[in-house]
Symmetry: C2
Subunit: 244 residues, 2 copies
């Protein structure tokens, strides 16, 4: 560690390099990177930069070469599949301490998704060639990355399968429950997302999303205003989600 540096100010990884990565406010996921030896971690984090993004900014762009993967230190980001004619699908919201690879890690080295900041966000970029090198050295680490990768893919697959199988009310219910239980974990919650983004999470137009939301409100299942939702009857929402 740099001489005499105050650990509590250890926010900027470009200054304190790998040492900071064991601190409690580090930008990396301890489940995965904690498996590396200090030397290995050094290799990976040596030239890492911490970068700040403002809401809406693109962190990684679909169809560009995958040279780095991104670790989210704090804040929320959305994983988007950009379709033709602005038809976007939001597949996942990722939170602090997540890693995201953009899809094609070790497969074709292209990013299959766009990641964009939802809130203010700090992330670090990690060089994939250094990562690949470590994968060959440390099998526990590569198993953990396999696990993480599978988990993330399965979550996106589940989302998409629900979008394909269900009618609008079921999809809106899924989105509302996902935001409450997975993303924000409080009940009246501020969805920091626009109605367009909520619609993109639900695979429909914003007009349709708004209409569905209104019906839920009229039936007393939820209460909402411009930027927050309260789920009043979760069980009934779950039922709607089930029925598709």
């Amino acid at each position: 560690m740099s001489e005499g540096q105050d650990p509590s100010r250890c926010g900027n990884c470009t200054e304190c390099k790998h040492d900071c990565c064991f601190k409690s406010d580090h930008c990396i996921n301890p489940h995965i990177f904690g498996l590396l030896s200090p030397d290995e971690l050094h290799t990976l984090m040596d030239n890492k930069r911490q970068i700040h993004f403002r809401p809406g900014e693109t962190i990684m762009k679909q169809n560009t070469p995958l040279t780095h993967l991104v670790c989210i230190k704090n804040g929320l980001a959305k994983v988007v599949s950009e379709g033709p004619k602005g038809k976007n699908l939001i597949l996942q919201i990722i939170k602090s301490n997540s890693i995201f690879t953009g899809g094609g890690t070790i497969v074709d080295d292209f990013r299959h998704f766009t990641v964009a900041a939802v809130t203010d966000i700090d992330c670090c970029f990690i060089d994939t060639t250094r990562l690949y090198q470590l994968l060959t050295q440390n099998s526990t680490f590569s198993i953990e990355l396999l696990k993480h990768s599978n988990k993330q893919h399965l979550s996106m697959l589940t989302t998409l399968i629900n979008l394909t199988n269900k009618y609008m009310p079921g999809r809106v219910a899924d989105t509302l429950l996902y935001l409450k239980n997975v993303v924000f974990e409080t009940n009246p919650y501020n969805f920091l997302l626009s109605k367009q983004e909520l619609a993109d999470m639900s695979g429909m137009t914003k007009e349709s999303f708004i209409r569905s939301l209104k019906e839920f409100e009229d039936s007393g299942l939820i209460r909402h205003n411009r930027n927050s939702v309260e789920i009043l009857k979760e069980n009934e929402l779950i039922e709607i989600s089930r029925n598709g």
Copy 2:
């Protein structure tokens, strides 16, 4: 190798055990399992059984515990996501020499998909606890499995994204092109699948699929009868797929 055994008859893995797995007609994928040492391969294949399935039979069932993964020696299988009310989605057709894990490998040890035989098929089942053990020993092997797993997931994600983004004609075009270029690799091809299954690949009802197919025929893009399709104007089909 067992003494003096004729390698050309080496079809049944329960007899010749791991030795057969390097032969040309083995049931495993050489890209992945070729990375194992003979000893490691022995560990994995020691108690492996080769099992025959008839068309339509379920090879692994969604929501059951994932104790084994399956290797397909020859024949075709379909990967199905079973939804409520018989709303099934076929996410992928898998061919000879493929491995399929059922989705949850190393994540939650449950199968997230059903795999069923399309043709007569021979497969081997490999114990996952033995696999996990090898993953910790051989990092080249685990990287290759990570790659395979990512590739398979990406392929299914792409399928689902297309189903969500496109209208029926685009989805039918995708299915027809997928069968020609990826699965059968010939031009007039026998789709061994029922119209219901083709519809399940395209995320629609069989009636809608048939209507779409008929329109393509009327426009001269394809020719088809009860059990085969010939693609006449591939470029126009690609165009339809692009336009969604």
